[in-house]
Symmetry: none
Subunit: 296 residues, 2 copies
Amino acid sequence: MSPAPHPPPRDQTVADSIHNRFQSLTRAERQLANAILANYPVSGLGSITALAEASGVSTPTVVRMAKKLGFSGFPELQAALRSELEATISSPIAKHDRWAGNAPDTHILNRFAEAVTENLRQTLRQIGIDEFDGAAALLRDRKRDVYVVGGRITRSLADYFFTHMQVIRSGLTLIAPNSNTWPHYVLNMKEGDVLVAFDVRRYEHDVLRLAETVTARGVKLVLFTDQWGSPAAKLATHSFRARIEAPSAWDSSVVTLFVVEALVAAVQTATWSETKERMRTLEELFDQAKIFRKFV
Amino acid sequence: MSPAPHPPPRDQTVADSIHNRFQSLTRAERQLANAILANYPVSGLGSITALAEASGVSTPTVVRMAKKLGFSGFPELQAALRSELEATISSPIAKHDRWAGNAPDTHILNRFAEAVTENLRQTLRQIGIDEFDGAAALLRDRKRDVYVVGGRITRSLADYFFTHMQVIRSGLTLIAPNSNTWPHYVLNMKEGDVLVAFDVRRYEHDVLRLAETVTARGVKLVLFTDQWGSPAAKLATHSFRARIEAPSAWDSSVVTLFVVEALVAAVQTATWSETKERMRTLEELFDQAKIFRKFV
DNA sequence: CGGGTTCTGAAATTATCATTTCAGAGCGAT
DNA sequence: ATCGCTCTGAAATGATAATTTCAGAACCCG
């Protein structure tokens, strides 16, 4: 039946092999491995040249990896892909309509994936583009200082936002978790400044009070909250309500983080020339820090 | 994306073409056509020689039929088969039921959404379920103490993970960012304990050294990294490689956070009876704290 | 049973692919 | 900064694949 003598039968798929030996792969090989896995197995079925180009590596790299994975050469790897494909196609159930292919639909990973994509879809549908663009505009305005505050759970998100924004602009302050210290920050805020607040279910009274205080002083409020909306939402100039449902005892922050990242990206894009310069400088500082450490 | 310039897009599949033109095929060509259809499309994905032999015809016959079907030659027919296959295999999830409906596809929100869902899809496809379940088992084992460490960017994720796990179990320590203090933590670790480390692109040398030190002392390493894999991955007992590509100057942590949340959910589910109790107690403590504050 | 026609595959040719070699890039250690 | 190592891709080589050519087989028809 088979045109050429079959390659030695393998107990695992090419994808499995790659996965198992991933750590022993080099930089270029990993790049290649990812390209193969990204569009599996089709990307591996063309010529070695095509695969190499699509992966951004050279053909020798492909050959070397094929050998590392236990094949005599690329054609043998390809033959393995074809025979896997044959097996997959003839099998009664198409595996591909699942998230994690080899896990049951009921596995927590798949259930979580369902929930998160649904959250994302619904959140995007109701997010106002103007709201989004408006918030981005506020955040890139260098005349306004920006303060960031989070709650018990959302503190991590505030921190993440802060770390990234810090690269984009100065005049940025992360407000410490302990609400006793908050008046100190308020003291510095001036009209037109921006408070970025995170407040999701189990809305925190302290955050609401802070929001009230600062908006009364003419500070703009950008709020990340959940689908039900923090009580602070009515004070916000711009608010983002992300859906946070998850098959878990806790809510999911994945979509909130998504909005945060998108917002950071928007600001970064709009201020690229300056941001680029700042990032370069930051790199240099890291290098110096590394050298510095040696002498400590 | 595609390795070579695409062949002209076709309105029908190769199989359709064969059916339509079957009448006009000659004896040898029909023989070939049947062989192709018999094991469609795999048999057409090998070399022309292999296909000819498997069909019992000569290679010129294959070339002639390819031309009769409207291709410039056999390789073009093969490319058509591959792209059909790709279309069949690729996600059944409707990509284009438009995300943010009223925004152009080019808006950063939509581009980000595309990227993130693609990241999620690909990450899930290559995550090992055993890897995941194994890590969850480690983390719920009360005999093991758990330490959590993050890098410059991933510190927020480590923090998020810590905050949630803290509700589930005791014996949990968040390692401070300053690597000077790390030996103090190592001092307390015992064999069988677990270090949960986050290390993504711009892999941090300190994290690697910590991983080396602790694994040498018999500590298990659970690693969250990116698709390229931190150098610490070779030391990890369980590692998760999340895709982090984004239309931004920075990588996206959304999928990493997804895995974190799913893992927390898995541990929580497996230990629900205890966790429930702990959550209730926590509520009480919050209430007391609130009352307490009134008297301050 | 020839003569014309169509079809077919062996063999030669050409094109492309796969592998090997090797110089130097990159990087960590000293 | 320099050494020594691993990794990488350009280029040369070798191997295979794809196409073309063409002679003869198969068929059709009078």
